[in-house]
């Protein structure tokens, strides 16, 4: 196996160390730093969107507003959450967690990163050539009529991101199936690895549909095809089917790795084995499978017969079952635990579980066809996706960043600052997104640059909440980047965690393991008092 590993850079030159690297850990770090940069860009767009909505008439022009919400969503989904969870966490952790020396295809792994970076740059470039204004969904015919090269660059960015995503997913599937350390059966894999495996399969089966959707869009824009031109027999609804066939699974691509992170953090800081290992692992598989049968719930009012929505309503309700299985198992993990209030634990327990369930429950409401007739495309849906993607995914990303920070950098972040940032995030999330439920119930449509005066109060509350989140983000970024350089040094395993990455030095050596570990049980075993109070670490 060693023979096929490309020669590692020994020179100290920066280009050799980072630009030409094929080391999964460095690629993971590059993914992480790049996507945090995009997180700041996209977060800035979010703050601008919220600022615009301070007054009913809007502070900026309507065109500016439309461009800002388009960029916010596109960057957040394709350049932040997906690459941060799969590219950064997945790349860094999966080989370490399964006891491998690298991914199956290290050079393709590097290619995935550079494609991802290219896609992000193209997306940023699109802002300067007539910023895309068609929303992240880019429904035709509007996206075809919208002029300027902005949308073409947007499509190109989606293509490149999709390719990067597919290559990354192939790498994870082969790595996880083929490169596990001796003794690591599927039922001994860490739960994060389970969730990454399912995520990778979802990317493989979903992403090509997105490629098909945006390619046909591009063809309609430039090659004169008429896929979505109703005057020549085309059908705009077809795009929505193709788009959501990817983009609903994409929501699970953005939450399953987060579920995996939660399953790692909770048992460590509850000082207890995870409750229901198999139930949590297999419910991920169930979500991955069911996730492909719910897409049309985005289209209940899009021109299909209302009754045609019934099967999709039922499947969308059923998919809440494996999710609630996870929630109850996590709660049971805390039960009779010995909970330590560390920063990652705060984000994972109160932060994630406390917020995410609101997104889960509002999902049940919008899945019901009769209720969606009212709530579709209102702020209720905006509240729902943000409780899932912010209260769920981003909250967990913060848990994960703090949890693995000492492993990646060999240093500890400032815990006091970490707790302060948590409370900014937790309160900010509720203040920003909870009022959106009320706006939606009252009938305020989404993607509105201006609105009726009776909606102002809750809009202003949400805007204030977004500023709280903005401050929290700055604190987190400062804390992590400052501590990476000046934090207190830590040993191999400061958290006394059990997965394999904590058995090697912090940061891990280039080849991860000098001797491949032999695995005899899953990593979720009971703690002893001696182990927790010993000085080894």
């Amino acid at each position: 196996m060693e023979a096929v590993l490309p020669v590692r850079a020994s020179s100290k030159s920066w280009i050799r160390d980072w630009v030409l690297t094929v080391d999964h850990k460095k690629i993971g770090i590059m993914y992480g730093v790049t996507s945090i940069f995009f997180f700041l860009v996209s977060g800035l767009f979010a703050l601008l969107v919220r600022t615009d909505l301070l007054v009913p008439s809007g502070l900026f022009s309507m065109q500016t507003y439309n461009e800002f919400f388009t960029m916010h969503a596109t960057i957040m989904i394709f350049s932040v959450i997906i690459p941060l969870l799969t590219g950064a966490f997945g790349n860094y952790l999966v080989p370490l967690m399964i006891g491998a020396r690298d991914m199956a295809f290290p050079r393709m792994n590097a290619l995935s990163y550079w494609l991802y970076l290219a896609s992000g740059i193209v997306l940023i470039l699109s802002m300067f050539f007539g910023m895309p204004d068609a929303g992240w969904t880019a429904y035709p015919p509007y996206s075809i009529q919208s002029t300027g090269p902005g949308i073409d660059l947007w499509v190109m960015a989606i293509h490149i991101a999709g390719l990067s995503s597919i290559l990354g997913a192939i790498n994870f599937v082969v790595t996880i199936h083929k490169m596990r350390a001796p003794g690591m059966t599927y039922n001994r894999m860490p739960l994060f690895v389970w969730s990454m495996l399912v995520t990778a399969y979802m990317q493989i089966f979903g992403t090509p549909a997105l490629a098909g959707a945006v390619t046909t869009l591009l063809a309609d824009r430039h090659f004169g095809t008429v896929f979505y031109d109703a005057t020549a027999g085309g059908d705009p609804m077809l795009y929505q089917h193709l788009f959501w066939f990817y983009s609903h699974p994409a929501v699970y691509i953005m939450i399953l790795p987060a579920f995996g992170i939660i399953s790692e953090v909770l048992p460590v800081f509850a000082r207890k084995p995870i409750f229901g290992y198999h139930a949590i692992a297999y419910s991920s598989v169930a979500i991955g499978f069911l996730g492909f049968f719910v897409w049309a719930h985005h289209m209940f009012v899009a021109g299909m017969a209302m009754s045609a929505g019934i099967p999709f309503m039922i499947s969308s309700l059923i998919i809440a079952v494996p999710t609630s299985v996870k929630i109850f198992n996590w709660l049971a993990t805390l039960w009779r635990g010995a909970v330590e209030y560390t920063v990652p634990m705060m984000y994972a327990s109160l932060g994630f579980i406390g917020s995410f369930i609101i997104g889960g429950f509002s999902g049940v409401i919008v899945a019901a066809v009769p209720l969606d007739m009212h709530l579709h495309d209102t702020y209720f849906v905006v509240a729902h996706i943000h409780y899932v993607l912010f209260g769920g995914s981003v909250m967990t990303i913060m848990a994960g960043l703090h949890y693995w920070f000492p492993k990646v950098t060999g240093r500890m972040f400032n815990e006091r600052l970490g707790h302060v940032s948590f409370w900014f995030y937790f309160i900010g999330t509720q203040v920003t997104f909870f009022p959106m439920h009320l706006l939606g119930l009252a009938g305020m449509p989404r993607r509105y640059a201006t609105y009726a005066p009776e909606f102002q109060f809750w809009n202003d509350v949400a805007t204030i909440g977004s500023y709280i989140l903005g401050i929290g983000t700055l604190i987190i970024v400062f804390n992590l980047f400052y501590s990476a350089k000046y934090g207190k040094k830590v040993g191999n395993n400061p958290w006394r965690a059990r997965t394999l990455e904590w058995t090697v030095s912090s940061p891990p050596p280039a080849h991860n393991f000098s001797k491949l570990p032999v695995v005899t049980q899953n990593p979720y075993q009971a703690y002893t008092v001696e182990e927790l109070e010993g000085t080894v670490g």
């Binding site: 597919i166 192939i170 490169m179 098909g212 959707a213 309609d220 095809t225 193709l242």
Partner: protein, 216 residues
């Protein structure tokens, strides 16, 4: 470099030796790297299959949306698409013969069968281009109707895949001539043949759904 049955001597990485992990396996699976890449390519084919499925779904939805323009029945020339089918199926068979000869370590025969496969592929693409040009001359362009947009996109995507396969296979023939059969070139021959067979399978569906159901 240990136990491979072939005379590898050099490989194109220029490293001199190829480390063989599993001497008992077929030559393309003898290195760990080869086995991983073949599995990886299977997974890639799954993504390509989804892409074609989407284009098929698009075509099926739009096949009746001719917008007063020409229909499949008027456009498709039966001898032409039957010939295309026959040629492509044959090429898949000759590609299979190349893999067969590879396992018997007959380099020249492998090269020979791959050349035959490439030539058949070229004539397939040639016939398809001719068909497309004819249709376009008759005014049946991809701009004419949603049916034609979907038709040209689906069949054209397959044609592009075949063209890419021809270039790829040509590159592998050159490598075979230069380096002979070793675990690395063998893996490449094996993978390009997986790709080629996959395109054949896709064509069987194209033949049925687009052409046969189109002329019926």
């Amino acid at each position: 470099m240990t136990t491979t049955a072939h005379a590898p001597a050099e490989n194109h990485h220029g490293a001199g030796h190829i480390h063989v992990d599993y001497p008992d396996r077929p030559v393309e699976y003898q290195t760990e790297d080869g086995a991983l890449k073949i599995l990886g390519f299977w997974v890639f084919l799954a993504t390509d299959l989804i892409l074609f499925s989407c284009l098929f779904a698009t075509f099926i939805v739009l096949r009746s949306h001719v917008d007063g323009g020409p229909t499949g029945k008027e456009l498709f020339d039966i001898p032409s698409f039957v010939a295309e089918t026959f040629i492509l199926l044959t090429s898949s068979f000759t590609g299979g013969l190349a893999t067969f000869e590879m396992h018997r370590d007959k380099r020249n025969r492998v090269v020979g069968w791959l050349i035959v496969t490439v030539l058949l592929g070229l004539s397939f693409v040639g016939l398809e281009v001719k068909e497309f040009v004819h249709m376009a001359m008759d005014g049946a362009t991809l701009q004419r109707s949603a049916f034609l947009s979907a038709f040209f996109t689906l069949v054209g995507t397959h044609g592009c895949h075949v063209s890419l396969g021809i270039l790829w296979m040509t590159g592998i023939i050159i490598q075979l001539v230069r380096f002979g059969i070793n675990p690395i070139t063998a893996r490449k021959v094996f993978i390009v043949n997986m790709y080629w067979h996959f395109l054949d399978v896709v064509w069987v569906f194209l033949f049925t759904v687009v052409y046969l159901m189109g002329v019926m």
